[in-house]
């Protein structure tokens, strides 16, 4: 029964919804975590390659790994945003947090369907299920107008993207005569309409994974929306975007993309460079994380060059590594803002003295994001760069490496605040237990992934 994980997630969402009505402040986070964990376990148990509903719902190796990525990101996001969901006294507490949680679980479910779908219809529906509720989550801070404005911008960009996507689907449907993705790949004829569909799809998906020309919404939404959503966006929704790109680039337009290495290289460079350059100048930590995640999208794009399975494996590995590093940083951001309420980078002065463990975890994660060896970020980037090098794009490797040097500049900027500048943090930062556990666990994984090869080999076996 390969749809088991999705069902478990839906059931947990409903139980949280129902229980919240009847029982006074139940520990909904624990229920959600339990649900997600059991879903994760169930996936590992499931046999890869099975299919259901007459081929409509499949569990291909890519689907398998993407589902693990989604569940992992949901698991960590929810546990690090324990403060905003459960702790009433914290400065970033969300009203009606159980609904927030339910919607998040449903989004995850949408993403899992997205990956397993084989036809355009189910793809479109699950994609919308994974996008539209995010607009609602963005507007969760009722009191602040920033949150509503962010949601507005997110809504309109999302709507535009999904309509473009829809138009592209119609062209694909029209020209290939079928809704089924694999049949479509066979019937591909590179007619102008299909090329135009390819571009529109790239635009639509570019919005979701914040490719450069379509990234403008990201900064405002990250800043305006509650941090819990920002972390979720930076990880899960980006992974979903990558998933859709993988479906189309690897399964629907493989031979077209093989000839478009230059095209991909230029987009990747644009994404990386702009993300890094603008991040240099950011003052607000969440806006800063937005641009940092935009530049990460640039590195991921390098994995698509040449459309070979090694590229896909390195993209998957990089996503997993990216989840852990990014969420450690967001965890620290939430911990700091939940006790001090401040979001400016300069507010992190002297964190290494007020809370050394937090500072150390943040430092490791930042180094991993900037691609410094023994940490896992370096490994992820190294494999992505080797894909580009294999295609002969050595200039791209240099540009990417220089970009990660520029990124090192602003990551070190934060470390400078924490370690070098004098501490004026009056109140010491106290971190609630679950957050502390998740952070230390993730930091260990961030370091371990860099050294132990098992995870990479595991993914490799699948392909």
């Amino acid at each position: 029964m390969i749809m088991l994980p999705e069902i478990i997630v839906i059931v947990t969402a409903l139980t949280v919804l129902v229980l919240d009505l009847f029982v006074k402040d139940i520990n909904k986070v624990q229920i959600a975590l339990a649900g997600l964990l059991s879903a994760l376990v169930s996936i590992i148990v499931l046999p890869i390659g099975g299919e259901l509903l007459g081929g409509q719902f499949i569990l291909s190796p890519t689907a398998f790994w993407f589902k693990i990525i989604f569940l992992l990101s949901a698991l960590i996001t929810i546990s690090i945003s324990y403060d905003s969901l459960m702790v009433k006294t914290s400065k970033i507490f969300l009203q009606s947090s159980s609904e927030f949680l339910v919607i998040m679980l449903l989004i995850i479910c949408g993403m899992m369907y997205l990956v397993s779908s084989t036809s355009l219809i189910s793809l479109y529906v699950s994609l919308e299920l994974a996008t539209i509720p995010l607009f609602a989550l963005a507007a969760w801070h009722k009191k602040e107008s920033k949150s509503a404005e962010a949601a507005l911008k997110y809504l309109f960009s999302g709507a535009l993207a999904s309509s473009l996507l829809l138009l592209a689907f119609s062209f694909l449907y029209g020209t290939t005569g079928t809704m089924n993705l694999s049949e479509m790949a066979v019937a591909m004829t590179f007619s102008p309409l299909q090329i135009w569909a390819f571009i529109l799809i790239t635009m639509g998906v570019g919005f979701k994974m914040t490719m450069v020309p379509f990234h403008f919404w990201a900064a405002d939404v990250y800043e305006g929306a509650p941090t819990a959503l920002a972390s979720f966006l930076s990880v899960a929704s980006k992974a979903a975007g990558v998933a859709v790109l993988v479906i189309f680039y690897f399964h629907v337009f493989p031979d077209l993309v093989k000839s478009l290495n230059g095209f991909l290289a230029i987009i990747a460079t644009m994404t990386m460079t702009l993300g890094n350059l603008v991040a240099l100048t950011q003052k607000n930590i969440k806006r800063f994380m937005a641009f940092s995640s935009i530049s990460q999208a640039g590195y991921i794009l390098m994995g698509f060059m040449g459309v070979e399975s090694m590229g896909l494996v390195s993209v998957l590995f990089y996503l997993i590594v990216y989840i852990f590093s990014n969420l450690v940083i967001f965890g620290v951001i939430m911990a700091v803002s939940s006790s001090t309420g401040k979001e400016e980078i300069s507010d992190y002065k002297g964190l290494s003295i007020s809370n050394p463990m937090l500072a150390f975890a943040m430092m490791l994660a930042l180094f991993s994001l900037s691609g410094i060896p023994p940490l896992s970020g370096f490994l992820g980037k190294f494999f992505l760069f080797s894909v580009a090098a294999k295609q002969g794009f050595h200039w791209l490797v240099v540009v990417a490496a220089l970009n990660s040097t520029v990124s090192l500049y602003y990551y070190l900027g934060i470390i400078k605040e924490m370690y070098i500048n004098k501490a004026d943090l009056s109140e010491s930062i106290l971190v609630s237990a679950p957050v502390k556990w998740t952070l230390s666990l993730c930091t260990v994984v961030v370091v371990a992934l860099g050294v132990l090869p098992q995870v990479y080999d595991l993914i490799l076996e699948g392909f």
């Binding site: 507005l152 535009l160 020309p213 919404w217």
Partner: protein, 648 residues
Amino acid sequence: MNTYGFFLTNIWLILLIPLLSFIIVGLFIGPKNKKLAGIFATTSIFVCAALAYGATFEYLSLFPLGAEHPVIVPWSVQWMPYLENLTATLGIMVDPLSLLLMMIITTVSSMVHLYSIGYMHGDPGYSRFFTVLNLFTLSMLGLVVAPNILQMFVFWELVGASSFFLIGFYYTKASAVAASKKAFIVTRFADLGFLLGILILSYEAYHLFSLEAFAHLSSYNAFDFNFLNHPEVINALSTADGALLTFALVLLFIGAAGKSAMFPLHIWLPDAMEGPTPVSALIHAATMVVAGVYLVGRLFPLFGSSEVALNVVTYVGAFTCVFAAVIACTQNDIKRVLAFSTLSQLGYMMLSLGVASPLHKLGYLASNFHLMTHAFFKALLFLGAGSIIHAVHSNDIWQMGGLRKKLPVTHITFLMATIAIAGIPPFSGFYSKDEILAAALVNNPIVFIIGLFVAALTAFYMFRIYFLSFCGEAKSDGAKQAKESSISMLIPLIFLSVLSVVSGWFPFEKFFLSEALVHNTPSWLPIVASGSGLLGVLLAYLFYFKKTTYANSVKNGFGPLHTVIQNKFYIDAVYLFVVHKIIFRFIAAPIAWIDRHIVDATMDKTAYVTKESGLVLKKIQTGNIHTYTMMFLLGGLVLFLLLLGVGF
């Protein structure tokens, strides 16, 4: 091979003993007990002297005076293997020249050690003085016994370094510090020439090994003197690239000129008088300054092969000879006079080497002979001057006078040395200078005349300081209460005075050559030589014996020329100007500025540009939804164009 006696087999002791005593005195005895340090150091040098004399005796017993004097290398060990036969070995080479030098160095050094026990009494840096003096003797001996040119360069630099420490012994005195710095940097500059000379020479010689004609020499190394002086190698080198060989030899001569303070590089020797007088006696009279002459002497067959190199040596030597003698006449500080006199005697040695050639070696023999005799009487002069200064507490000859009765022993020994240097017959100076003039007469008449004129000048300025300091009445109260120095200072004076007479009769011809040299010196030469010497003495007597009226009138007659000469032709000022004004201001400062403002600034600029571009790109984030979605569609257009451009 006949077996070597005791001395020759462990000749390496001559290097080991000074090294051990340097370490022991320096690290262990020095800080604890000053007195013992002095004695220990002096005894170790005496042992070395004994070794040197023993070795010479043994060498002569193996190869008697008349017979062939081969070059033997009793001990050598691999030191620095660059390449297959480009390896520098550390060893001891024994041949008449090196034995002669070994004897001179150990004798003078032991005398100076003995003298400084008394002279340095009470000085806070007493043990430090003896440590560095031992180091100096070690490096000088190492230089002299070097079987290859690289080992010579190694000890050459160590000699320079120890002279740096000794000149700068009174390190609290600013002038001493400046003098030591100047000495080291000028000699270092000359060593650059020396090193470049070695590099070119060894490069050329190394390539000979590849030719099969030299297969039989493959046991040698490109650095060894035996190889470089080997006749086949010499003509191979001169035929291959004569100009390059001459260039290398001139470079080597620059190194020698620096160390022996020849004309352009002489500025450091007068300032080196800042060091204690025993140092000046040992280093700046007898041993170190002679290293340059020894270098040219050691590579004499090679120098002989290129005319140009020999001419350079001759004329630089001759010019320095005259130049220094003229300046010596005008100096007032007794040690400066002696310094310039050393300069001019070195000029003598150089010109006599230049004048000689492999065919008739008279010049080569005369220069080494003069080297020996000069070492003894010049050391004596310096030590004598030291005891005068010790008594009168001032260097200025115009404040001395009438010391004849107050310092009897110093007076007699000083007089004997002055006569010797003036070249008056019974004393050693006459014999060696006569040989040089004979060699010069045969090859280069102009140089002969210069030599003659300088002989007169030498006699004049030497007797000038003799009359001013010892005769007439005491011109200052210091001179009035002058007392004779202690016994430990007088013994060396007496010993050296005996030597400066005896050394004249040294059978140098038979010592160096197997067959006797054909003598065609005209009979009138000795008379003319000693005559010019006596003329000089007479002039000095007239000028300075009683009243110095004549001297003043002559000085005013010369007028401004006199002051120019007194200031050493302002050459020091020229050097200071070149170094400070030109090198520091126009090269070092701009480079430091460029580094700070251009190279560094470009790095900062790139960082600034990235930051600026970040700010520019940030402006696109206007926050207005229309711009976002407009950018969205523009992006689509860009993709399309890209697809057109790249894709198809």
